[in-house]
């Protein structure tokens, strides 16, 4: 599931285990409660680093669990909307240390962070939907639009289902920086985290500003979210 550590003012949320960290209700609920704990425990300038064990950051929705059931897909979507909204309103900077593959909703989870650092050599970012004959929801598109600036890069990600390596992702402005190993990625995230904590920003002001920047995403998350308080 996921584990939460606090090192000084730095919270580290780790998706644990060597599996694909598929975003089924169980994992999403566990992330949700970790985020709640973070809010409760953060008293001064803090930072969140989200990372994962194993070969995957997250391979997206748990389609096997959903088994083509509309209500199950809808449930995963509703729960995932909720944690992305939670991340967008989190009163501290957020850093995704992407140490493996991030595809579909897993890619969206990474992009939901203010900074994305990623490991090179293995692992890619991949909006797999087109290859799996799935349409991409409007709120995913809104996040992609807010986080990936160039229209051609957006097209390559969603309309060509490119498997984007870390170095390519830096070039295309999708992520911030790339590192040679998982350890170096997390180390760099901690280094960046310490720098951001040192700015001593007021968390609620930071969150307000972020929510303004991503207001289109929040609008889309709330439109069509019929099962929100799950």
């Amino acid at each position: 599931m996921c584990s939460l550590e606090k090192k000084g003012n730095i919270f580290v949320l780790t998706l644990t285990g060597s599996g694909e960290h598929r975003l089924n209700p169980t994992l999403v609920d566990s992330i949700r409660s970790a985020l709640r704990q973070i809010r409760a425990q953060s008293s001064s300038s803090s930072v969140l680093i989200t990372t994962a064990q194993g070969k995957f950051f997250s391979n997206g929705y748990d389609l096997k669990w959903a088994q083509s059931s509309h209500s199950r897909l809808h449930l995963m979507d509703a729960k995932f909307r909720s944690i992305v909204a939670d991340l967008i309103s989190l009163p501290m900077p957020t850093i995704a240390a992407v140490t493996g593959h991030a595809s579909g909703a897993g890619f969206i989870l990474a992009l939901s962070h203010d900074y994305v650092l990623m490991k090179r050599h293995r692992g890619f970012l991949y909006m797999s939907e087109l290859d799996n004959q799935l349409v991409i929801s409007a709120w995913f598109m809104a996040l992609i639009k807010c986080k990936i600036g160039a229209p051609t890069s957006r097209r390559d990600v969603v309309l060509r289902a490119d498997k984007v390596t870390a170095d390519e992702a830096v070039k295309r402005g999708i992520i911030d920086s790339a590192y040679d190993s998982a350890e170096q990625t997390v180390e760099a995230a901690v280094g960046l985290g310490k720098k951001l904590v040192g700015r001593k920003w007021k968390g609620d002001v930071y969150a307000q500003i972020r929510m303004e920047v991503l207001s289109d995403v929040l609008d889309e998350i709330h439109i069509g979210n019929t099962g929100s308080k799950l």
């Binding site: 939907e129 349409v135 598109m141 160039a150 229209p151």
Partner: protein
């Protein structure tokens, strides 16, 4: 006019004639019916390449000469408006086309011609000749709303948008690539079309579901769908 051919998986839509391929009412009608044919004949693994005959022009936009040949200023304005309005379904058809679309420009693309190119998923042009040019500011013509939305959706950089719309910049192939407007530039009309064919075949080989492709494309450009009145289609996922 325009012709439609199918070679293997690839549809070729070609603006014909030795001239600057103006988007007159007749050409617009011909485009609408050709695109409708393409949509109805689409299968998994199809792709569209739009190009033009000759070596000098993709298209110089709406047929302003026809508009101006009207008796009065007001009829001229009506004629122009008629072309502007009747071109919207062409944009809508390209936006909803159930396959990847590639514009291969053998020469200049100006005003409506530039817009027509912009409505494709990929644009390839020549590096040796031909420019992209939104002539409106130079001609004293305001942009139709869907033109502005299309440019906002497809041209990302703020300075590029200003240069295209507010400066009437004539943009050559390599500059267009640098500005992120065009995907690649090639040293002749033939090599541009050849590259388009290679890209078309690569995209076609992914064998994407055309309906899903079209819905994802529409999701990428919600503002353009809005101004054209295009609704999203609900597709039941086949897991």
């Amino acid at each position: 006019m325009c012709t439609l051919e199918k070679r293997g998986n690839l549809f070729f839509l070609t603006l014909t004639g030795d001239d600057d391929h103006r988007l007159s009412p007749a050409v617009i009608d011909s485009l609408i019916s050709s695109l409708s044919q393409v949509a109805s004949q689409a299968t998994r693994g199809s792709a569209l390449i739009t190009t033009a005959q000759g070596n000098r022009f993709f298209s110089n936009g709406f047929d302003l000469a026809w508009a101006q040949s009207a008796g009065s200023k007001s009829v001229a304005a009506d004629r122009l408006n008629q072309m502007v309005v009747s071109f919207k379904p062409v944009v809508g058809a390209l936006l909803s086309l159930p396959m990847p679309t590639i514009a291969a420009l053998p020469g200049h693309a100006a005003a409506g011609g530039f817009l027509f190119a912009l409505c494709h998923d990929y644009i390839l042009m020549r590096s040796d000749r031909g420019v992209l040019y939104m002539s409106e500011v130079d001609l004293g013509l305001p942009f139709p709303d869907y033109f502005t939305v299309a440019m906002r959706s497809k041209i990302g950089s703020v300075s590029a948008r200003r240069d295209v719309m507010l400066r009437g910049m004539k943009i050559k192939g390599e500059e267009a690539v640098r500005m992120g407007i065009v995907d690649s530039a090639h040293d002749s009309a033939e090599s541009t079309v050849e590259a388009a064919v290679r890209l078309g075949e690569k995209l076609a080989s992914r064998k994407w579901d055309g309906e899903v492709y079209a819905e994802i494309r529409k999701g990428l450009y919600p503002e353009l769908c809005g101004v054209l009145g295009l609704a999203a289609k609900v597709i039941t996922p086949n897991l």
